[in-house]
């Protein structure tokens, strides 16, 4: 806080509003960071442009054009934060906006904390005192959020694995430090081999964490969703309803293959990736033709299963079988056609299943908001109302994972370059600290305590 390090975030309010996305970068290096990605049509560097001007060009990452953009250059002090600001205006929808933010972070900015732009604006004297209270509120909510999220994460595998990796790092650091502090008791000769192995092990684990971090994927790439249901249940009209004119449709997503993904839909900021339902659509009766096994297979990799039931028909054995087979998954049961006379009510349906049951009319487009609310609750534990923040939090985690990997790579570099042992621990501790930020723990006196508990020190 209050450093002039450069921060970035998507500054357009809620996701999925379609149209233009803005990535705001603020700090000493804001314009430099933008320059690393921006290729202007005029060939001019942003750094050479006058303040408060707008420039047309493309954002290029690793030789690939991400989007056509307009970039505003605003130099301190006449900016929102009173720092240098660059704003990238893109129009490629949510995924592209997020990709550009990722690129900006890779180019040297760090993800902004919730409310951080406002905080900087305030601290740099840009906002007056009456707004101070609201800033404190923002920070307080951050406090509460950090708490609830750390509780959530603590239960998770992520936290468990990070704790294990931190333990390995701390053990090694403590041994090296004990040996440096008490060279007559502990010998470091040949320790590089063990350290190299441990560091490799940690890096491998962190890299796979980075890849598989489920939450991160869901937030970044959307929720893999499968719609199941019998033909007449109204899956197609549900799809149409979800993909209606007022919803953003994102197609042709880079990095995903078209044969497993047909449409990516933003539902009030939550992205749903609907798997190709062609097979289901073409089939007269999913249960008979594909069979329960096939349905299961289809649902196997899904994060979310939406089961569409027809309110005008009785709930039968096939419905039961399918629901039974997906009982361990995230499932929402939609009772469709509730706008016309029906034979089964939401209450009756709830007797058959413990999953959330929602009444919906795809044709009349009612119940869609309830659906998105339920999805939010299911995936984000109802803690966050603004999807933007979740993304940022996760971007931060991802960033910390990356930083810890980098630090560990520096340890290896030090070993390979024959640097002395005390240089290793600088980066070991940096990695330890970065990982601690993910699970909400700082270094404090961990090291000193570890040294004393594991090693017999002193006279």
């Amino acid at each position: 806080m209050f450093t002039t390090d450069t921060i970035a975030a998507i500054s357009t309010g809620t996701m999925g509003s379609g149209g233009i996305g803005i990535i705001r970068i603020s700090g000493d290096e804001a314009i430099e960071v933008a320059d690393r990605l921006f290729r202007s049509v005029s060939g001019k560097k942003l750094a050479d442009c006058a303040s408060h001007t707008i420039h047309y060009g493309t954002i290029v990452k690793d030789g690939k054009v991400l989007d056509e953009v307009l970039v505003s250059v605003m130099k301190a002090p006449n900016t929102y934060t009173r720092e240098d600001i660059a704003e990238i205006n893109c129009h490629g929808g949510i995924l592209v906006t997020r990709k550009i933010l990722d690129a900006v972070i890779d180019a040297g900015a760090r993800p902004a904390e919730p409310g951080e732009f406002t905080k900087r604006a305030f601290l740099n004297g840009r906002i007056d005192l009456t707004q101070a209270e609201s800033v404190i509120d923002i920070i307080n909510s951050q406090n509460e959020y950090a708490l609830s999220s750390s509780v959530m994460q603590l239960r998770g595998k992520l936290s468990e694995e990070i704790t294990q990796i931190r333990e390995i790092i701390l053990d090694n650091t403590a041994f090296i430090e004990a040996a440096l502090d008490d060279p007559e008791h502990y010998e470091l000769d040949g320790y590089e081999d063990k350290l190299t192995k441990d560091v490799d092990k940690c890096v491998d684990k962190l890299v796979s964490l980075l890849k598989t971090s489920d939450n991160g994927r869901i937030l970044k790439d959307g929720i893999r969703t499968v719609i199941l249901g019998k033909t007449n249940a109204g899956k197609s009209s549900l799809l149409n309803a979800l993909a209606g004119e007022d919803r953003a449709i994102v197609t042709d997503i880079a990095g995903t293959t078209r044969d497993t993904l047909e449409e990516s839909i933003s539902l009030d900021g939550v992205i749903l990736n609907l798997t190709d339902t062609a097979g289901i659509r073409d089939t007269e009766d999913i249960v008979e033709k594909i069979g329960i096994e096939k349905a299961m297979k289809c649902a196997e990799n899904a994060d979310l299963i939406i089961y569409v039931a027809d309110a005008t028909r009785e709930f039968d054995d096939n419905d039961k079988k399918i629901l039974d087979f997906v009982r361990d998954r995230h499932v929402i049961v939609l009772l469709n056609k509730t706008d016309i006379e029906n034979v089964i009510s939401v209450e009756q349906m709830k007797k058959y299943t413990d999953f959330p049951v929602l009444a919906i009319s795809a044709r009349e487009q009612t119940g869609i908001r309830e659906l998105s609310e339920t999805i939010r609750k299911m995936f984000f534990a109802g803690q966050i109302s603004n999807n933007d923040q979740i993304y940022i939090t996760n971007a931060r985690h991802k960033n910390m994972l990356k930083e810890s990997i980098n630090s560990l790579k520096l340890v290896k570099e030090s070993i390979e370059n024959g640097m002395p042992e005390d240089c290793y621990t600088i980066d070991l501790l940096n990695a330890y600290e970065s990982l601690g930020k993910i699970i909400g723990q700082s270094v404090e006196d961990d090291l000193v305590n570890q040294i004393f508990s594991k090693f017999c020190m002193g006279k």
């Binding site: 101070a132 920070i139 307080n140 470091l188 005390d422 600088i426 002193g458 006279k459």
Partner: protein, 632 residues
């Protein structure tokens, strides 16, 4: 009967390692200073290990020296063996340690004290503080004499209500059977100072003639002796050194200890004080590290004119007979004769949370404290606080602002900040791992880091300051030159590289690039560096280190820049944490207890979260109480 009544600028209570530095600093700054000790013979006494320095402690001695203190000079004049620890490791953890001739060390310091102008030594027990309206006015001795002073520095070490214990024997004395100071504690408590009890211990001293050294490994000193003080000419101190000896405990030793644990006052509950984890007694080691088959024992001479040897690693409070039994299981000590028993010592000290970073009490103006009294341990830690307490007491009397060293510029800064900011539940010992910027805080550059403070204060003379300025400039110029001097694939270059097993060049590189190679050093490439200026060894060393570790040093510098920003945000002393909405109650409690001077310090208090710091910053800004200026 009429009582003695005198007036001074500064009163120093205690003449151990902290008291000596404190008193010398004040007197050298021209203040009339009186230093009390319960025994003149115990000035600068080393009641435990017979050495100065060691890992991270060597750094402290160098820093004391750069500020104009005495410890470095004193050990340079009285050492009998010297060793640079970790010499094969990185420069940040090189640490100098010297065995002292204890008597010589004490005698020389006493002479320096006695011959310092404005410094008066008085043997008496200070029993009372005189405090008026929250300001210290002087002290009273047990005899009733009154000494008025503008500032008082408490450096009572391990003497307050001291009790020495072994087995079921306990004596109410200070170390070495010296008189304890039994009266001051009550006066401290009466003045609102909270007092706690710590313990430490020391091993037996044994008769050299009863040791069989043939069963031990000899530990010699370095061939080339490096002095502690930047003012000592290395050539003047090269001399014959004595040896130390290494042997080990074994299962038999441990069995005896385990069988007699019920007779140990530590385990039977006779000792209540909190002991240090880093310097455990041998019974502690055996219990806590039960899987260790043996522990090292260092046999160290206590001086040139005594047969007493110190059994490093075997401090204990077991009964006399058990001490004999266990020592005699150690190879080489089969027939050992004890001269002085091992014992544990308990003493009163304070929770240093009551102090400011200047080492002045928060609640009593003009009252300062240093050394083991503050809950630290070790001669060097004590001396470090002593010189800072002395300087700041003097600054107070002279109406100047205090010297507060930052964590980013000194081990002393780390030591004092840790003491007053963190909750320490045991005697605090310095470690290199406590210094987060240790690559910058090397023992080799303490002069470059701190001499200017000593000069500004008036403890370092112009000549010494000028040399440091010249040194700094010479280093920078030489680094610049190496960064801009290219060498190509000429024959003499390739030959030199080949002789050093270094990869041959395929194109031009700078000389600095070559120095950065692990297998080469600045001195190594001298033959291919035609325009090299004549530079002294200390400058060449700095050039080499600064080029070799440039990447790491740069990374730490950036961290320090980051660190300084918060460190420079001062918190008003009258801030009401309870009035800050949004601060968690734990944070309110902790901040109120420690009352940090700046935001950086607040951040280091355990139990204060980053979000709390944000709330605090926002509040401070809205109250316009943040001043963006460096600490003074």
């Amino acid at each position: 009967m009429k009582n003695v009544e005198e007036s001074y600028d500064v009163v120093v209570v205690g003449a151990g390692h902290a008291g000596c530095e404190a008193a010398l600093a004040c007197a050298r700054l021209g203040l009339e200073t009186i230093c009390f000790t319960v025994s003149i013979e115990s000035i600068a006494l080393m009641p435990c290990n017979p050495n100065i320095g060691g890992s991270s402690k060597g750094h402290l001695v160098r820093e004391i020296d750069a500020l104009g203190g005495e410890m470095g000079k004193n050990i340079d004049a009285t050492f009998i063996q010297s060793k640079m620890l970790n010499a094969s490791k990185g420069p940040a953890v090189h640490s100098l340690r010297a065995q002292a001739d204890k008597q010589d060390y004490s005698r020389r310091m006493r002479m320096v004290m006695e011959n310092t102008e404005h410094l008066h030594i008085r043997q008496a027990e200070v029993s009372e503080l005189i405090v008026n309206d929250g300001r210290v006015q002087g002290v009273k001795t047990y005899s009733g004499a009154v000494y008025h002073a503008k500032a008082v520095i408490l450096c009572t070490g391990t003497y307050l209500k001291a009790r020495c214990i072994y087995g079921d024997v306990s004596n109410y004395t200070g170390p070495n059977g010296l008189q304890a100071a039994n009266h001051l504690t009550e006066s401290l408590i009466a003045n609102g100072i909270s007092v706690r009890r710590f313990k430490t211990g020391t091993p037996a001293r044994v008769d050299k003639r009863s040791i069989d050294f043939s069963k031990m490994a000899e530990q010699k000193g370095d061939e080339k002796i490096v002095p502690f003080s930047f003012t000592t000419n290395p050539e003047d101190i090269q001399k014959e050194q004595v040896s130390c000896w290494l042997t080990y405990t074994n299962e038999k030793t441990h069995e005896i200890i385990r069988a007699n644990l019920d007779r140990s006052p530590l385990y039977s509950g006779v000792i209540h004080g909190t002991g240090p984890r880093y310097c455990p007694s041998i019974e502690d080691k055996v219990v806590r590290f039960a899987d260790k088959e043996r522990h090292q024992v260092f046999i160290e001479p206590e001086g040139n004119y005594t047969n007493e040897m110190y059994l490093g690693g075997m401090s204990s409070s077991l009964p006399e007979d058990v001490q004999y039994e266990m020592y005699r299981t150690v190879p080489g000590l089969e027939n050992v004769r004890i001269v002085r028993n091992a014992y544990a010592i308990e003493y009163d000290c304070i929770d240093p949370v009551q102090l400011k970073l200047s080492l002045e009490f928060k609640n009593i103006e003009g009252l300062f404290a240093g050394g083991q009294f503050n809950g630290s341990s070790g001669y060097e830690e004590a001396a470090s606080q002593g010189i800072i307490a002395g300087i700041n007491a003097a600054m107070k009397v002279l109406g100047k602002s205090p010297l507060i060293l930052k964590r980013s510029e000194s081990y002393i800064g780390v030591l004092i900040d840790d003491l007053v900011t963190k909750e320490n539940t045991e005697p605090y010992r310095m470690m290199t791992s406590r210094a987060e910027y240790r690559l910058l805080l090397r023992q080799d550059n303490a002069d470059l880091r701190l001499t200017h403070y000593g000069y500004e204060i008036g403890l370092i003379d112009e000549k010494r300051m000028n040399y440091v300025k010249y040194k700094e400039q010479a280093i920078n110029e030489e680094i610049e030159r190496l960064n801009n001097t290219f060498v190509g694939t000429s024959q003499n270059v390739q030959e030199l590289l080949e002789s050093k097993n270094s990869t041959l060049l395929t194109n031009g590189v700078t000389l600095a690039d070559l120095v950065r190679r692990p297998e080469l050093s600045y001195d190594d490439i001298e033959p291919i560096d035609k325009d090299r200026p004549e530079l002294s060894e200390d400058i060449r060393e700095q050039v080499n280190i600064n080029i070799k570790y440039a990447g790491y040093i740069e990374r730490q510098r950036r961290q320090v820049e980051h660190f300084k920003k918060l460190e420079n945000k001062k918190i008003q002393s009258d801030i009401d944490y309870k009035a800050i909405s949004g601060l968690r109650s734990e944070a309110v409690q902790k901040l109120d207890k420690f009352r940090p001077l700046n935001v950086g310090q607040a951040q280091r208090i355990s139990g204060v979260s980053p979000a709390d710091i944000s709330v605090l910053l926002v509040y401070m800004d809205s109250m316009k109480s943040v001043k963006n200026q460096p600490d003074d």
